[in-house]
Amino acid sequence: MKGGWLRVYAIVYLVFLYLPVLLLPMFAFNQGTVIAFPLKGFTTEWFVQLAGIQALHGALLNSVFVAFVTASLSVIFGICAARASTRFRFPYKGTIMGVIMVPLVLPEIIVAVSLLVVMVQVLDLPLSAWTVIAGHTLICTPFAIAILTSSFQGLDQSLEEAAVDLGETRWGAFKNIILPLVSPGIVASFLICFTISLDEFIIAFFLTGAEPTLPVYIWSQLRFPTKIPAVMALGTLMLVASLIILSVAEFYRRRGVARVGGKDSGGFL
């Protein structure tokens, strides 16, 4: 085997990465109410319990709504920015694109605090799902741009000109040629933004109104030891959902790569 010690290290590192993830289902199916070893025995009781918690259902619906709107907005903004940056030249392009990408590296608490100040103290708006959406869109857009830029960049510019040359209008060429070709990127970036928004805590924590999002709800439950096994079950379900969403996203991304005849060069981000 090549890379002997490095391989051993890589495997140890993977164990480190997977340690918490493996514990999640373990405790979700554990009979004991205390989250500690030794395990007490197998049960699906916690999953059954989930079905009866009204507050959880509300939070889940709220989160899905926030994530859906956030992902839609981010993708639209992402398409605009990615197309503009790959296709056109305009003054201060570097600066503008740089500013748009800033939320990617800004500590989230800063984003949360600044939005809170503006929403509450300056504009005097009530906090609601929409304030969370505003914040989430801000941090998701750079991700959408990153994914969509690589989709747009892979496109040969003359494809669009060829369509126009063959009789399409500019809009027709965009609709019939460009959009189908970047659609895998659109789907992938939508799903990524959806997942990020679904999991985001700090911004939601600051900006959420009377109806919490799922992570905010989970946070409130973590204080009560008796609620934790159910939270573990919930986490397990969310992990499975995330994995399904991501597999779909990856599938679309690969199809996109194959479609434009490119070579696959790795996964997301």
């Binding site: 040969d156 003359s158 494809l159 000109e161 060829a162 369509a163 126009v164 040359d165 063959l166 009789g167 399409e168 209008t169 040629i177 189908p180 070709l181 194959a258 479609r259 434009v260 005849g261």
Partner: protein, 359 residues
């Protein structure tokens, strides 16, 4: 009758003057090439004709109609792109039939037309293939079929052969030529490869820095380049310093460095020129190594280098009294021994092939 008239075409990119008053008439049914080094404006000119670039000044007339304000999708031109621009998400047939969507043909008519077009480019039965699985030569053919199916007045080809390997390129050159004769449509080819332009074209416009330096048939371009630069760009040309010493009624006398005094007939001089450049040009085949020691007009020289090509040998000969060697090509006949580097020899020339440039 000309299918395309370009009148005083100007193009600026900011301060950069890309096209400087291009004047050109392109005849119906001709194979026309725009030839020049990269950055000379040939692709820009093609894109101006196609409607992808706005002009800063001048008019483009296609088929008697002024193209001002006519967008690319409404022009009677179609283009084969350098990258071919084959839509990767569509099949070969869908690519070829792409432009027919507006024609609202029945499915049967449509597929018949597509099949005909594919047949024309030698891709019969390829219709159902996924387009990203095609080879370079096949993509090229699909691009051709896709453009020709619309029966444009003019087919524009932007360096269509540059992405192919040498063998494939040569094959496509003759095939394109055959196709052009078959369909009778005007082809405008952009290329930086002078050999390709010579082989394929009826007429060639040689462009440098946004201007047409010479517009002529391949033979004339080669035999009578208008400027030293055109002569240098097309094929190999030797340049010798020359001075005009006497003007007769039907001959002009030049003193040429290394060769001596030479009379040139007026019909071989550039038309309308009042004075001449202090240099004359000679193609390698206009000079020859003299194998008989008693030739009259031979001048002495020394072979400084040679390249053997099988059918030909190219000698680098330093003529007495000159500082730069000239290139001489000789056909290799069994009666002609290959001379060695360093040997002394004598050189003769064909007076009629001497090229004089206007000043």
């Amino acid at each position: 009758m000309s299918i395309i008239s370009l009148r005083g075409i100007e193009k600026y990119y900011g301060d950069y003057h890309a096209l400087k008053g291009i004047e050109c008439e392109i005849a119906e049914g001709e194979f026309f090439s725009l030839l020049g080094p990269s950055g000379c404006g040939k692709t820009t000119l093609l894109r101006v004709i196609a409607g992808f670039e706005d002009v800063s000044g001048g008019t483009v007339v296609i088929g008697g109609q002024d193209m001002a304000g006519v967008p690319a999708n409404k022009r009677p031109t179609n283009m084969v792109f350098q990258s071919y621009a084959i839509f990767p998400h569509l099949s070969v047939a869908e690519n070829v039939g792409y432009g027919l969507r507006r024609a609202r043909l029945s499915a049967a008519d449509m597929s018949a037309k597509v099949d005909d077009a594919l047949k024309m480019v030698g891709l019969e039965g390829f219709g159902a293939r996924a387009s990203h699985a095609l080879s370079g030569g096949q993509r090229q053919r699909v691009a051709l079929a896709r453009a020709l199916i619309l029966e444009p007045k003019v087919l524009l080809l932007d360096e269509p052969l540059s992405a192919l390997d040498k063998k494939m390129r040569e094959q496509m050159q003759s095939e394109l030529r055959r196709l052009q004769r078959q369909v009778g449509i005007t082809f405008i080819l952009v290329t930086h490869d002078q050999e390709e332009a010579l082989i394929m074209s009826d007429r060639i416009a040689v462009m440098f820095e946004g201007e047409i330096a010479q517009l002529a048939s391949p033979q004339e371009l080669y035999r009578r380049p208008a400027t030293r630069r055109v002569g240098e760009f097309i094929g190999v040309m030797n340049f010798l310093d020359a001075r005009q010493i006497d003007i007769g009624s039907d001959e002009v006398r030049f003193a040429v460095e290394g060769l001596g005094d030479i009379n040139i007939r007026v019909k071989n001089l550039p038309k309308g020129a009042r004075s001449f450049a202090p240099v004359v040009g000679l193609r390698p085949e206009a000079l020859s190594i003299n194998y008989e020691a008693n030739a009259k007009s031979a001048v002495p020289g020394k072979i400084v280098d040679l390249s053997y090509y099988g059918d030909m040998t190219y000698y680098e000969v330093l003529l007495d009294g000159t500082s730069q060697p000239v290139t001489i090509s000789m056909k290799n006949l069994t009666s002609r021994p290959i001379l060695e580097r360093g040997s002394e020899t004598r050189v003769t020339w064909d007076e009629g092939s001497l090229v004089v440039f206007a000043n």
